[in-house]
Assembly symmetry: C2
Homo-oligomer: 316 residues x 2
Amino acid sequence: LALITDKKVVVLVGGVGGAKLALGLQQTIAPENLTIIVNTADDFWHYGLRICPDIDTVLYTLSGRVNPQFGWGVADDSTITLDSLRTLGEDPWFTLGDKDMATHLLRTHMLRQGHTLTEIVAHLATQMNIQPNILPMTDAEVATVVNTVEYGKLDFQEYFVKHRWQPTLKDLSFEGIENAMLSTQAQAALADADMILFGPSNPWLSIAPILAVNGMRSALLARPVPRVAVTPIIAGKAIKGPAAKIMGELGYEVSAQTVADYYGDMINGFVYDQRDTPLKSHGLKTVAFDTMMKTSEDKRRLTNNILAWLDKLEAI
Amino acid sequence: LALITDKKVVVLVGGVGGAKLALGLQQTIAPENLTIIVNTADDFWHYGLRICPDIDTVLYTLSGRVNPQFGWGVADDSTITLDSLRTLGEDPWFTLGDKDMATHLLRTHMLRQGHTLTEIVAHLATQMNIQPNILPMTDAEVATVVNTVEYGKLDFQEYFVKHRWQPTLKDLSFEGIENAMLSTQAQAALADADMILFGPSNPWLSIAPILAVNGMRSALLARPVPRVAVTPIIAGKAIKGPAAKIMGELGYEVSAQTVADYYGDMINGFVYDQRDTPLKSHGLKTVAFDTMMKTSEDKRRLTNNILAWLDKLEAI
C-alpha cells in the first residue's frame, strides 16, 4: 500500500485508543507528514523515575514493542525489579516491567541532564526506529488531579491504576497547566497541518489537558482545515477505560453527541460509529464508519476511510 | 557458637573486604552491640538513581544476598533493564542488576521523600532482616574525585568501573566533605564502643573519606579503647582492588607498615598478616593472623582471633 504523501496530518492522542489510531496513520501517511501530539497530564514521579504512560504507549505501539494483550507496556516483559521491591516491603501498584524500566531510566537521566521532554521523546523515538514526529503536549510538568466522592483528591495514577478508576468523579483539575506552553515544534506542526484529528481518547482525561495547554486552542482555531474528532463512545459505551463512566458521573448523556458537543468549536468534523444514530450536526461535518480497531487491518481501514472522506469533503 | 554479648564494637568499612569482616563480626558479636559505619564517598547518581555501592555491598553481604563470585551485587541476578538500555543506544558501564535495581529505586524514592540516608539504610537493613546497625558515614552527599595522569579528573565510578582503575592516580579529593557531618547515630555508637576496628578496606579510597567526615577524628581520639586496623595488604599485594597500585602511584612503599603509618594516631593497634614481617610498632600494639577471608569459617576465625587478642591486651 502506497503512503499518502500530499497531506500533513496532526493527531492529538492519549493512551491506548489514540495510539491505535496513530498506528493506523503511520501505516497510511508519509512519516515526515505525520505528527502525534500526546497528553502528558498522566505523567508522574514514581520511585524517583519520571513515568509518561501515554507517551510510552505511543512509542511502544508505533515501534511494535507493545504488549498486544494490554495495549500498553512492552511485550514479553518481566517484573523482576518489581518483585524485588515487594521483598523490600513495598506495594508497587504501578506496573514497571524490566524492559519498560529502561525507558524510564533513560528519560529520567536526560531530564536531569537538562533536556526537554520534547527532545527526550524525539531521542527515544529515534532509538526505537519510529519515523513520525511524536511530541509531548508541553515540556512543563502538568498533573491531573481527580476529585472523588470516596477519597477526595487523588493523583491521577492513584485514581486510574491503584483504584482502577472505580471512585466516583466529582471534578478534575490539571495542576501546573498555567505554566504549560505549546512547544514551538507543536505550534509549527499545527500551523502546517492539512488536517487535524482528535484520537478516540478520553475527552476529559486525555484530550482536555492537551486543549488546555496555553496556545493550543488559538492554534487550532487559526487553522482553516478539517479538525475532526473520532468518537471514543460506541453505542453508549466506551471502547476502553472510564470515558463512559466519567461522562455519567459528570452528568452527561453517554453518547458520541456529548463528545462532539464537549469539543465545541475546536472541531469542525466528527467521525461516529456506524452502530450509532446520526449526530445532530450543528454545522459539523459528520460521518459514520466502523471505528472499532482490533486488528492492524481495522486501523488502516479506519484511517483510510477518514482520509478518503476528508478528501471528498474538500473536493465539494 | 555463642555470640559475644559484653563488647560493643564499631567497624569502619568500604566495600567487599570490609563487608567480609563485617560478616565475620555479625557471626561473632551480639547484633545490638555491632555497628558498621560505611564509606559513602563512592556514591553517585546514575540514570536518575542514587547508587551507594559500599552500603549495598554491606547490605547484600550481611543479608546473604550477595553474589559470591563478585563479592558485590545480588546472587542470581539478571540484567534485562540494562540490556534494554543498550537497545536504546546507551552504553551503561555500571552494572545494575534487575533485583539490585529495587534497592536503588526504593532508596531514591525515600531520598526524594526527604528521608536521610541513615534512615533509608536502616529501613533497607530491616527489610533484609539484618540485625546489626549499619550507618552511612554521613547523610551529606560526598563524591570522591580522582585526578589521573591520563584523563585528568574523573568521577570515582568512572575511574573505578568504567576505566577499571587502570589510569594512574595523581591525587584524590572528596567533594562536599566540608558539609559532611558525623551523624548523631554514628557519634553515639563511637562514644559507646568498647573497640573500634578499621576494616581491611582501601585506606585511601574507603577509610580516608570516613576519617574526613567532620567530627570523626575527634570522636575516635576521644575513645580510650582499642582502635585497631586490619591490613588490606598481604606480602606487598592488595587482597582485592587497587590499594597496592594506588600506594605505588602515590609514592609509598606497598606494605602493611605504610597503612599503619597512614592511619597514624587514629589507631592504637594493627593486625597484619602472618605472611608478613613484623611491623615497626611506634607504640602500636600489633599482632599477626591469617587475614585472608575466603570462607565463612575464615571470617569467623579472624574476628574471633582479633577479639581474643584484644581481650588479652586489656587484661594485661
